[in-house]
Symmetry: C2
């Protein structure tokens, strides 16, 4: 037996016990006559003491050879520490070592195994197994497990059944790019890895499973933006005989439970907002509502004077920045530079300082008088001491720019407290969105999303105005979940495919099995999927998902630790009936 206790559990109540511990050497302090070693495992750190007077000399000699990250086993007696460390759970005791067994040596690790490491991202990824020894990564992975367990137990208690859907499925041209898998046994044919179990979970509803969930890996072969992974994990859910309200209630319950259970925070009913309202109020379909700075649309009160920039704009819109009236000219110029960066893309910014004395000072005083500016303040909710930032231009474009500015300012003002949780349902998403590249409408969510029945007549006349029974769950400015009530009859599904530009033959080839299924008694159904990596990161108070994934890939989709993807040999290609085409 390698150990009688872990390195995290011994206390003063264990004093005088003979124990065996195993773990890694975190630190060695060699005072000559006395050596202290911090011994680490997943559960904590225990201090070992080798004392010339009380430890046999060969053991002391062996202890002198120990280096960082050596794996050792020790036997010894639990004794009281002379100088206790109240910051460590085991800080009251130490182990007087009688026997030392070096289980494995270690090269000097390429970065320090400490909470704050000297290792950069690249080296940490290459030696991920060392990075995982660090508390921030180890704790994140353990936290992920706890969240997964809570989700599973909650949904299982609520009668959901976790069903494993297949990973080797069929490629579909709709949506993002698929990863594909050549079939050896079916010459010239390919499986695809699922972008989500969407059709399978719908078939489970047709199959009467009633309430389904799965914590499941999904795959998208997309060019990777920062903090995206080619393989990612979803909490995938579907329910039969439900309306949107049922889904919202159940998964609001799950989310509330997680926040309560993990963070101890009680959240009352989640606010709901239509997509249109979210776009108008926050310029964003996943608004962070932990703070205000709501948009004030200023067309009415800003397009009546000679200021051509505003008069020519489709939309003039502003936000009030709390306390911003004190910004210096230089600070404001920097803000203007910030919104003009290509990533944001505004042409310029108008501002109004709301002075403490009730007067206003703006960058467009030439065109607008105090009464105009006071109306702007009223519309944007600006108070004395605030700064109003105003952008103008084409509707949703300028909204996006102002949203970026709003988020940036909130960050600078410290309004994005990671320990505060502000969930929000955004509902009534558009069914379709126009794609500039292909010059046609795409499904905003996916082709199985049901349109609101009352909007179906608009499908031909104003497709962009058709609203869907689709909803997103937003948490602190991140979309953590999204779903919809699905189409469950063949006719509507065929109509939908038609509007998405599928010929009936294409629809049949790609999704014939689903449309067939709809003819054998498909119940009304709907569902939701949560991005699990993101959800865990946010609940963990982090912005990036990478430390919550054991073995993430880099932005080129490479696993730099195992060096994958890699070449495969000619024989393997031949068996798969493919050859390279470089």
């Amino acid at each position: 037996m390698y150990r009688s206790h872990s390195c995290g559990e011994l206390r003063t109540s264990d004093i005088n016990k003979e124990v065996t511990l195993s773990g890694w050497v975190q630190k060695v302090r060699d005072k000559g006559f006395m050596i202290w070693v911090d011994l680490r495992d997943r559960y904590g750190i225990t201090q070992l003491i080798f004392d010339e007077e009380r430890t046999s000399s060969d053991v002391v000699e062996k202890a002198k050879t120990l280096g960082r990250e050596f794996v050792i086993q020790v036997k010894g007696t639990v004794i009281e520490r002379e100088s206790k460390n109240p910051n460590m759970p085991t800080g009251d005791i130490e182990i007087l070592v009688s026997e030392l067994n070096i289980l494995n040596e270690s090269h000097t690790p390429p970065f320090t195994i400490e909470d704050e490491t000297d290792g950069g991202e690249d080296i940490r990824m290459k030696y991920r197994y060392l990075d995982i020894r660090r508390n921030p990564v180890k704790d994140s992975l353990m936290f992920r497990h706890q969240v997964a367990m809570k989700v599973r137990n909650y949904l299982s208690e609520a009668d959901f059944i976790e069903v494993e859907t297949p990973y080797l499925i069929k490629s579909t041209p709709e949506g993002a790019r698929d990863f594909v898998v050549p079939s050896r046994m079916n010459e010239g044919q390919f499986y695809a890895l699922p972008q989500s179990p969407q059709t399978f979970k719908q078939l489970l509803m047709v199959g009467g499973m009633d309430k389904y969930f799965q914590i499941v890996k999904c795959f998208r072969d997309e060019d990777l933006r920062a903090d995206r992974q080619p393989e990612f994990t979803q909490i995938d859910c579907e329910m039969a005989f439900v309306e949107q309200e049922d889904i919202l209630n159940i998964f609001e319950g799950l989310t509330r439970h997680l926040i309560k259970d993990i963070k101890g925070q009680e959240i009352s009913d989640f606010p709901r907002m239509t997509y249109d309202e979210a776009m108008r109020t926050y310029g964003n379909d996943k608004p962070d509502i932990r703070f205000g700075m709501k948009f004030g649309e200023l067309n009415e009160v800003a397009q009546h004077k000679e200021f051509k920039v505003f008069n020519d704009a489709e939309l003039v819109v502003g936000i009030a920045v709390p306390g911003g009236a004190s910004y210096t000219r230089k600070e404001i110029d920097k803000l203007i530079d910030w919104v003009r960066r290509p990533q944001v893309g505004a042409l310029g910014m108008v501002y109004v300082k709301c002075n403490e004395d009730g007067s206003f000072k703006s960058s467009v005083d030439k065109f607008y008088d105090q009464e105009d500016l006071s109306k702007w303040a009223e519309t944007t909710g600006a108070k004395a001491g605030d700064l109003i930032c105003i952008l103008s231009g084409q509707g949703n474009k300028v909204r996006g720019q102002l949203s970026a500015l709003r988020m940036e300012l909130a960050e600078r003002l410290g309004l994005r407290n990671p320990e505060e949780f502000a969930p929000l349902w955004v509902v009534d998403f558009p069914l379709l969105e126009w794609d500039e590249d292909t010059e046609r409408y795409h499904a905003m969510h996916h082709p199985f999303t049901s349109p609101k029945p009352e909007d179906i007549p608009l499908l031909d006349s104003k497709p962009g105005d058709v609203r869907a029974n689709a909803y997103d769950l937003v948490l602190n400015g991140n979309e953590i979940g999204g779903g919809s009530i699905r189409i469950h009859d063949k006719e509507t599904q065929a109509l939908m495919f038609d509007h998405l530009g599928f010929t009936p033959e294409e629809a049949k080839e790609q999704f014939g099995f689903l449309m067939d299924a709809f003819q054998y008694g498909a119940p009304p159904h709907g569902g939701i999927a949560f991005g699990f990596d993101r959800l865990v990161a946010i609940l963990g108070g982090q912005e990036t998902i990478r430390d919550f994934i054991a073995f993430p890939k880099n932005n080129n989709g490479r696993d730099v630790m195992i060096d994958a993807p890699a070449n495969i040999d000619q024989g393997q290609l031949k068996e798969l009936h493919i050859q390279l085409d470089l």
Copy 2:
């Protein structure tokens, strides 16, 4: 809201309640003036009654249009049934319907949605979503979920952390064939889908995770024998600072817990048997020990006479078939035909009838006297009334043949009771096995399995005799789990690769990351993996895994429901830098 209750929950205590139910029409009995409909959902069946005297005529008319598997919603009153059905949980009540809403019609399903269906395997797979509506499949999937939850909660309670390992990894030539995934972003390179998370779980141990598990999909591109799937699910586990004994105890605990919790059966300590003993006693490394018929090796008592067949044989071995003395000549001839089938491959069979009067009658009376035969009876444990079946030939070959006969006879004799559970640890597996095709030794388990230290000197002289720290958990004649203590130092791992025919360069290219990791403080570690599909099936009392998998593939690796794999278009191939080579 589609329903106030499920179809499984209403009881006499609910009488007079106004309820709303939704579900599928299981059965319609139309007596003209009265119509009964069995309404089904996941939770059960509730009887609906449409009564000309109490139900409005338009509702009755609509009810007359209902067909099997229509999806309907009804409102009505819970009333007491006139003729109760004690076999149904809802059998005391029925719903007097006041409102009927047809949510979706259904074509006549291609097979009956009943426990005993008229649908063959092929049609059931094509319409799997209908098959899942049948209780045997639905219950199997729900059972699978329950087992998974129990496993997760048990291991989580025992401090195991579920860590998701990547699905897009690197192809390795060792072991079975990989499924590969061409990388679009890394031209000419491929990911592989994991055959198991083996190296990653070992790296997690190097990373200090201490106790890991994962219920995870694995992939093998093998020619599929019956009841094998190209994608299958493992309970994958690994622990650091453990010896074989620790692993056996922990996972014996898990298995005992499952059998107790699911089947209510207390199992005491699992027996343990070496591989050698299992082969000698049962001719099989996964013996079914629910019944006896242990092998008796007869060389000593059968090779002293003039019977050339036995004298020329490496091994003469027999089993006693309980009650077999009463078999007719014809029945015995059929047994002989059975062992001579090519699938078994014996050349013939010698038998001895142990008569009730203590005398023996054998097919080799010409060569052996009663005293000889009585020794055979003693060696095989045959009692009066038994039949001794004896095969002879090359050692392990004849053991396999006799094992097949033993299993077949046990099946015929009803000794394989699916509700009885007889687990067994088989330990001390050989490290290497000789492969006739490649004429070299392969790792019997995998190349990371540690040899028993005392056997390492045999690696050069008698590689086949080297025993591994490897073990299998056998349940009712099925290997449900297997694992080993791993190598955790670079030198032994290099030695192992060398003996498996890897050049140092190949070893470095394929597994360099693992050998590197071993140089940075790798702890001793080991683990086990359970075949989850099989485990669930056996616990569910079934022989085949297919009904415990929601969407299984057929023996050609095809999903006949979605028709995958399938062709992909030229543009997609081009993006992936491959072309077909047919």
